[in-house]
Symmetry: D2
Subunit: 135 residues, 4 copies
Amino acid sequence: MPYEYPQKVLFKHCDPAGIVFYPRYFEMINDCVEGFFDDVIGVPFEVLLREGGVPTADISVKFHKPSFHGDRLVLNLSPVRFTAKSFTLEIRALCADEARFTSNSTLVYVGSNGRAADWPDAISTPLKQFSEVTL
Amino acid sequence: MPYEYPQKVLFKHCDPAGIVFYPRYFEMINDCVEGFFDDVIGVPFEVLLREGGVPTADISVKFHKPSFHGDRLVLNLSPVRFTAKSFTLEIRALCADEARFTSNSTLVYVGSNGRAADWPDAISTPLKQFSEVTL
Amino acid sequence: MPYEYPQKVLFKHCDPAGIVFYPRYFEMINDCVEGFFDDVIGVPFEVLLREGGVPTADISVKFHKPSFHGDRLVLNLSPVRFTAKSFTLEIRALCADEARFTSNSTLVYVGSNGRAADWPDAISTPLKQFSEVTL
Amino acid sequence: MPYEYPQKVLFKHCDPAGIVFYPRYFEMINDCVEGFFDDVIGVPFEVLLREGGVPTADISVKFHKPSFHGDRLVLNLSPVRFTAKSFTLEIRALCADEARFTSNSTLVYVGSNGRAADWPDAISTPLKQFSEVTL
């Protein structure tokens, strides 16, 4: 089962064409990943970031259909690949059952010195479990 | 003479009504103050923030007329009041000679411990000079 | 009773000092007002904006204490003054019982031609009721 | 020759780790494309959007190194593929000669009805020329 993150399209997200300004989708994606670490991994970003970080190494997004002010989106986060140092995830954003965008991104772990490192156990254990159960 | 900061209204600033979404004006105001510290005070924020900070204690803004995509604004920053621990400034945003908004805000200095402190000399000297010459 | 709008401080809200970047507070304020029109007035912005708008004419904010990543804020929206053409409101943002900021802003109604107009009945009736009950 | 768009990393772009918050890069990418249409194509977005639009159909970005507050980036926009209905472009962001990110995105043209359409001549002529000269 993917992790579901609901997000109504608000006024602030929309551009002069009345649709979501696409850089705002990347804020939604970041919020969804932050919610996932909070709700599923059990290590909220505000705790995780005291000792390290989870920068995004790469991201690709296809925009299928525009989203309009008031649309009720659900971002569905699924695992793609889990390794000792990285986690690749897909997010499919749906409005009812219409796909709006699909993103594919890879997170890496960095320690307090800013260098790539293995996931700490507190993160790797639930991340591995989510990956195995959901894949 | 006020410090002048030009800012074209870009697509990202505009809302579904085709005018500037007002929280974006506060980013412009922050960019203008950052430019002022860089160009006039000679202490860029990226240097200043290594040892302290200049949080905004309060701000009030009147929006006179909407701004549209493509408008070429100039933000005019003038001193209002300079003290040992604070600096109050006005920014008038004009498009040609039409006023779009006027803001009034107070910056304070905080040291590396996050507490209010006197302006360091490197800041207070040019800030005082700007205040005296311009007022 | 004020209208309460909860908002956790997320990674996207925070600046290099680890506290909320104040232009982000204005997005929160806008989201709170949008929630208020949805939940209390019964006219969501995505409906209201088809025929008119509610631009902010002025706003002033005092920042009492910084907010940190992970803080759970509640924005409390109360009426200050209701007239045929405007609505002045206060928002007090609390973290537990510590005040973080207080804003005071005035909304006006504009019709489809972009000019100031009286509130339509569908808005003025619940707005008046909220103002009378809450004041 | 790519189109060059300079962008200093400002306070507003940076996150609690002191580096650019990656959704802000997408605003920079959008600003760069807007600058390109203004400076190279000769059809500014504020004119183009009266009759149509240029939504981004897909985008992928690799983040090579973090960018810090104060860094002076240059975004270098080059053509990848030009067709009757789309334009694929690469943006390489450099700080001095260090690559920070590389994006690859496809723009499509939509008419006033929101449907995909051929580029109007006023856009396709300079877009084709830029593609031929630069490829």
